[in-house]
Amino acid sequence: MSSLALNDEQRALRETVADFLAGHGNARKEADSDAGLWRSIAELGWAAVQVPEEFGGLGLGAVELALLMEEMGRSLARTPFFATVVLAQGALLHAAGEAARQRCLPALAEGTRSATLILGPGLDARAGSLTLHARRDGEGWRLEGESAQVLDGSSAELAYVAARVEGGDGVALFEVPADAAGLQRTALEVWDLTRPQAHWRFAGVSLDAAARLDVPGSAAAGLARAQALAMLQLAAEQVGGAAQCLALTTAYTAERVQFGRAVASFQAVKHRCAEMMVRIETARSVVRGVAARVAAASLDDAALAAEAAAARVLATEAYRYCAQEAIQLHGGVGFTWEYDPQMHFKRAQWASQWLGTPRLLREALAAQLLDAA
């Protein structure tokens, strides 16, 4: 039985992150403030949280990263943290060979470079969904194809790219600098301004042999594991966003008067807020539980996939519900630009479509529960 309790260091980390982000939220600022925030985060060492000490990291784990992500979600921070730390570091940690990890991780742990990860649409790691193809080209490789929506695709300096290897050699993981010749990036106009995206076209991008990071034959399983861990961390971020929707709503309805009473005193409003709390705390319990079990290394791959899926479904439904109700219970101002609920609503919608929709995650769970021999 792994403990769900936070220790003193973890509680202190949560406080520090929450305090810092409360004072440095950038969701409503212009994009040119983003680099400064990311630099500060790197200086605080948070980009290093899950990287082992041997690669220049802090050697902490899923629990600490989830605490960070929850606070990021609460503040709607617009930073390369998710793409660089959760996605790119995650792929390196689980799908790259020892030498590649040694070479690539320190810069990402320091936060001196920002990165992203390219899998199939919506960050689908299954081999069949990958849209990029790698072909041997002398000693090196040549990448072709396009990825329609790359997270942080305009700002990332590096991309870790999963591609299908032509000739039946399975899946490989490559490092591609964003300024590589033959790579065309087009920024997209997205609804959720805190989660920028770009279209990437690989019109024959040549890479040298060292750009391939995986040990052949092991990338698919490693990427699946990295994807499951990313699901867990995205769930943590969603829990933070949902909790903020509830906090905004209880604060607003406590002040707002209709029919001579605070809106918060209406039983229907109270019950809706209570329902939000039930969903948030349930999702938070599972995120905390899965993170603890990941930290205790007590889950095999199948169990990790199942548990991460559970966390994601709960967090996705909680965030969508809370964002919806935050708009509804704010009344007219809820769907105006000046109030925050609409920003959470867009983030919740974004998060519901990436790293597996609830529908697909449930079906994957059902297959585990029902189709075993």
């Binding site: 649409p121 919506g122 329609a148 929506q149 609804w191 007219g332 105006t336 630009w337 529908r359």
Partner: protein
Amino acid sequence: MDESTFRKEVADWMAARLSGRFACLKHRGGPGDEEAWPALRKEWEQEMAAGGWVGLGWPQAHGGRDLPLALQLAFHEEYVRAGGPGRIGHIGETLLAPTLIALGTPELQRRFLPGIREGREYWAQGYSEPGAGSDLAAITTRCWQDEDGNWRLQGQKVWTSLAHESDWIFVLARSTPGSAGREGLSFLLVPLDQPGIEIHPIRQMTGEAEFNSVFFDGAVTDADCIVGKPGEGWKVAMALLGFERGVSTLGQQMHFSHELQLLIDAARANGAARDPVIRQRIADAWIGLRGLRDNGLRMLEEDTGSTTVRPEALIYKYAWSNWHRALGELAMDVIGVAGDVRAGEDAGSDALRRLQQVFFFSRADTIYAGTNEIQLNIIAERGLGMPRG
């Protein structure tokens, strides 16, 4: 007139006129899209007026055609079927005009009805205030009469659709100093283009602004620009809201039906139509639309003249707004990650843009004109006789 002949007449007219320079208006200008082509849509209103399609249900004495319900309904259905654009004149035609016909003086009727019928004058609605949303009786905008009898106004109205495109606004304001609640209010007709009025757009979640705040700072209107007597404004305001559930609800359903069809086409195009769970939800959307449709027909037809509570009318706003909101969610689940990206204005993105508008703008549906919570209170209290508070 025979209904099918009439339908054909409408369809033919629409096919002939909604073309050429008006072709770009097809399916445009609905909720969430009201900023599309406002000037051209005003010309379209005049085109329609010239064609005799404004005031179909008004009495002939007021320049209307006094058509029976079935034909009005047929008109709205054919209009939407042909892709007729959102009606920039609908507040005047379907809300203010019936109110003037029912409660206005002959002078007011002569003065204002022709401008509405001819598509020359556009109206905005001045009810809600920052402190009076669900609780409309809490309004604080004041009005008083100068020595010459002209009315003056001071205060702020919000959520006024299309105020920046309108010529006039009807305003519910407090004329009896010190009064509270529903007492002491008056219903004034106020020209918008004057120094005492400022209109500020309210930016909504889509980044666009089809609502406004209207600020009155000593704004003025004529002494006789009042409907009902001073102090009777609440009664007039409620009578006007009563016209909101008219024949046009069935026109709204044609819009919904069009949106559902866009969604179905999108699902078939991208393969979501093969997903068993999406299939269940699309079937549910269709079922819900049947519910709105038959409920709307029942509302228009049954027991007319009866004074008892009409359950189907009581539930209608709650039912359609929540159906529409769910449709938007379904649309985005059908579209998938591609829905993250704002659809462009190019023709190829028409369907995607419309479905995204439904998703984002339907968030307002369950809030304006009585929030879900207010609707449920009303249903419980008026429909089921449950105690207040």
